[in-house]
């Protein structure tokens, strides 16, 4: 069907492209973050950012239309669940308000400066999501704020509900955020109010389920309790996530007798599949640096 020259040319082309791909892979793994391929990626992202922003904004009605169909299907199931949650939250709110009033009174009495749950003084920068990675193996989004807005690498990023990830690449006007569902992600966290510590890892492909790993067996972890970032660190390594950012709620606890640790399943507070706006915490809370240093517990800075 084909002459030998055509066959040879076809095979040579395939060989060249496969070889080039393997060479790219090897070079990419071999170089540091400041290498030529990484720089090329940053340059390409910076060049494509305005186009992606424009396309994202122009075609938002299309996305919303498809979102509306999905939401309508989901709404019925969510309705009953949310009603129950509202009831539960109302009673919790009443308890929290009572407790808050009590706290205010105690503060007045003893003059104790207490921090609220969420870290203060973090200078959040609000950004719009302009693109997201198409594969589940690299869970990342791109936002329309960059180094010009004070965004730097390894700053925590939150969305409505709680923690979603950290900044991994920054250009002048954009930044890439690696989500906590990314295969390489790990976040030092603790279960409140018991204080059991662990590392939040993703379960690739299931953004509604995170794993809190390395939780000591003796610690009692109950379903429904809240998991927040612990902000723990040693003298040399410090978690990039400040203490107190909500991560999710415990959905299941695996108590396997063989394992040394408990495996706690968490449902994240933030909806990681539908992110429109996020906030980058551009400043570390001033009170937490000294508080975290010197505490025990290895902290992962992914």
């Amino acid at each position: 069907m084909f002459d030998q020259r055509t066959i040879r040319r076809r095979r040579a082309v395939l060989g060249v492209f496969v070889g080039l791909s393997v060479a790219l892979l090897t070079a990419y793994f071999g170089e540091s973050g400041g290498g030529i391929l990484h720089a090329l990626q940053r340059g390409a992202q910076e060049a494509l950012a305005p186009v992606e922003t424009g396309a994202s904004r122009a075609l938002k009605p299309v996305r919303d239309m498809f979102g509306w169909f999905g939401d309508t299907v989901d709404a019925k199931g969510d309705n009953d669940k949310l009603r129950k949650e509202v009831e539960s939250l109302r009673s919790r709110l009443a308890r929290a308000q009572t407790a808050q009033r009590d706290v205010r009174q105690f503060r007045g009495l003893v003059g104790l400066q207490r921090e609220s749950g969420f870290p203060q003084g973090t200078q959040p920068v609000t950004a719009r999501v302009i693109a997201r990675s198409p594969t589940v193996w690299y869970s990342s989004i791109k936002i329309d704020k960059g180094s010009g807005d004070g965004v730097r690498i390894e700053q925590p990023v939150i969305a409505a509900g709680g923690l979603i990830g950290k900044v991994t690449t920054v250009t002048g006007g954009t930044a890439e955020v690696t989500l906590i569902t990314d295969a390489q992600s790990a976040v030092a966290a603790q279960v409140m109010p018991d204080g059991a510590n662990g590392i939040v890892r993703p379960e690739v492909g299931n953004p509604n389920d995170l794993l809190l790993d390395f939780v000591e067996k003796g610690r009692r972890v109950t379903r429904g309790t809240t998991v927040v970032t612990s902000g723990f660190g040693t003298g040399r390594v410090r978690s990039i996530f400040p203490r107190g950012i909500p991560v999710g709620r415990v959905s299941k606890v695996n108590l396997d007798e063989i394992d040394l640790y408990q495996r706690v399943h968490i449902r994240p507070f933030a909806d990681l599949r539908r992110l429109d706006f996020v906030q980058v915490l551009t400043r570390r809370p001033p009170g937490q640096q000294s508080a975290s240093s010197g505490q025990s517990g290895q902290v992962v800075t992914p």
Partner: protein
Amino acid sequence: MIISPLAFLRVGLLLLLGVILQLSVVGQIGVLGGYADLTPLLVAAVAYYGGSVAGSATGFAAGVLLDLATGATMGASSLVLTAVGYAVGRFREVRDPSHGLLPVPIGAAATLGWAAAYAGVSFMLDIGATVSPLVLRDALITVLLNSLLALPVFVGARKLLRPSLAVDPYDRRRRRRAPRETGPIGLRGLEV
């Protein structure tokens, strides 16, 4: 495919448009928990109309573009998409198909191949995390959505690439349809 600067421009434009649309719009529209993926469809479309050489070159270029735009590991996507493009191109060259609905199974097979091979490459690169079985569900939904998108994507790609195509399978199909009302009575259906 006739290799010319205009052909390069057309394929480059198609890929750039596809990747931007994928990242900004299609990748953000979740359907049943999954997302459509235009990239393997575009590579398959070019390979289907242009053959294995054009297919593997387009696959490589699409992979590099995708990795550059998303910040993923450079070379992984291009390795897989090169193979996808080559395979679709070879299928076209060996079987010489011309059925109008063929883009649907070809798009599905290309997407399935892309998802499976990319997962394999990711495993080999040591992702170091637990993998949920829901990955399979997501991949199947992507294959299903891409099957639905295959026809319009292939039609669009064909329209864009047509001036650079050496052979258009649909044109050949139309030429094969001989006039049925020719010839004298008794020889109807035969070309005379």
